[in-house]
């Protein structure tokens, strides 16, 4: 194992890995809710593919979290057998899908952060973190291209689509601040050279988001109240419903496989 692992607090490291893995998992699950309901077949396929990428990444992150934890849990057990308060995903990803524009806006705000995180993690001192990040970054680059392109098309589209995108932005922007707030877990991981401080990702994120919003003729919301809690396990009521659906099979038929 890498030297970084020896020096970092194991609980903090596991927690931090769960933050990344859980955000991918919950967003993947949210996006998969569109399967069969999208406005066009191509969008349906695109959303399903993206959900698949995110869930695949989640498997890698939670697999590593389980390995670092060393208690014999698996990625599946982490995904299916933890309750709400044990989830560490950002609040942004548990927000409801709303209309197609709202789903796309959430995806864009997330992708623009996700790519910066993964890019920074490629130089992680923990080689296991670095290799997952290098793999995921290639996939997320496509997610970002797509979500940015659609935010521009819908924002700079009809009066109706523009208005919906403005509304989606106003609704979701207050959930982006949490992505850049540093806490003790982040500081422990950053001190060990495993990951960046979340706050360090903000300038690049802001530059991307501002540029895309400008092209989309949408207004940068500026300083607004920011919700927080997801990273510490304090969630909105939505997460419980997501888990109820996602975990039903494993809860009803423990250990079921196919």
């Amino acid at each position: 194992m890498g030297a970084a692992v020896e020096t970092v607090d194991r609980t903090a490291f596991v927690d931090w890995l769960q933050r990344i893995g859980d955000s991918a998992l919950i967003l993947g699950h949210r996006v998969s809710e569109w399967c069969g309901h999208s406005p066009a077949l191509e969008e349906d396929i695109a959303l399903a593919n993206q959900a698949l990428d995110l869930i695949g990444q989640c498997q890698l992150w939670l697999g590593l979290a389980a390995e670092v934890e060393g208690k014999g849990r698996t990625a599946d057990q982490m995904a299916y057998l933890r309750d709400v308060a044990a989830f560490r995903n950002a609040l942004l990803v548990e927000r409801p899908n709303g209309d197609f524009g709202q789903t796309l806006m959430r995806q864009f705000l997330f992708d623009a952060w996700h790519i910066e995180l993964l890019r920074a993690l490629r130089s992680s001192l923990d080689p296991r973190v670095a290799e997952i990040a290098a793999k995921a970054e290639k996939e997320v680059a496509y997610h970002l291209e797509r979500s940015a392109e659609l935010v521009i098309r819908l924002g700079d589209g009809t009066a109706e689509s523009h208005e919906r995108m403005e509304r989606a932005l106003a609704l979701l922007f207050p959930y982006t601040g949490e992505l850049f707030m540093d806490d003790d877990v982040d500081r422990a991981v950053a001190a060990a050279g495993i990951g960046p401080l979340p706050s360090s990702l903000k300038p690049a994120w802001e530059q991307t988001v501002r540029a895309v919003l400008a092209e989309a003729t949408l207004t940068w919301p500026g300083e607004v109240y920011q919700h927080k809690g997801g990273k510490k396990g304090v969630h909105s009521e939505y997460l419980g419903y997501i888990l109820a659906e996602m975990q039903f099979l494993q809860r009803a038929y423990p250990g079921a496989t196919w």
Binding site: E43, I45, N49, L52, E131, K138, E139, A141, R146, A211
Partner: protein, 174 residues
């Protein structure tokens, strides 16, 4: 074959080159470039495989197909390892594999055109849609347009030919 014999590594590679990709059966696993290593560790044959996409649902089928193919050839002690790094890239598709894709109706990847997530210099292009020139695998016309960034599998995008009017898959560069 004598079950205690150890087929040499080149022979194993040849066998693997006959195992089709489960989703695009015209190309083999070695054409796709996902078999990274074949070696004997004592009396165990170790085949190292890298996933194309993290969530590719074909991954488990691919492992099963490799196992089935090698067991059918008499390999008894076999282990499949997963290697993530360096991450799979379409640059590893063999030129033979690219030709097979084209003949099958899937436009092969245009190297060096992967999304890189650096948006700032690309926004004007994004606003105008992709300017990537992808030739139609049916009629060779370059008058094609992107329908969607994602296609029938995670590794493909959907395009349409403006000349022969056929939709087709583009195996996107990653």
């Amino acid at each position: 074959m004598n079950s205690t014999a150890k087929p040499d590594v080149d022979q194993v590679w040849r066998w693997l080159s006959e195992v089709p990709d489960p989703e695009i059966p015209v190309i083999s696993l070695t054409d796709l470039g996902i078999v990274r290593d074949v070696e004997w560790q004592d009396d165990t044959l170790v085949v190292t495989v890298t996933p194309t996409y993290s969530g590719c649902p074909a991954t488990t089928i691919i492992n099963l197909d490799i196992e089935t193919a090698l067991r059918a050839r008499g390999v008894e002690k076999l282990r499949l390892d997963r290697r993530l790094s360096p991450p799979w890239t379409t640059d590893w598709l063999t030129s033979e594999g690219r030709e097979k894709l084209r003949a099958y109706g899937i436009a092969p990847p245009v190297d060096g055109t992967a999304a890189d997530g650096r948006l700032l210099g690309r926004i004007s292009r994004l606003a105008g849609g992709s300017n990537l020139v992808i030739a139609c695998p049916r009629c060779n016309s370059t008058a094609t347009e992107k329908i969607s960034q994602f296609g029938s599998t995670p590794c493909k995008a959907s395009y349409r030919c403006k000349d022969c009017l056929e939709p087709f898959d583009y195996f996107k560069c990653i």
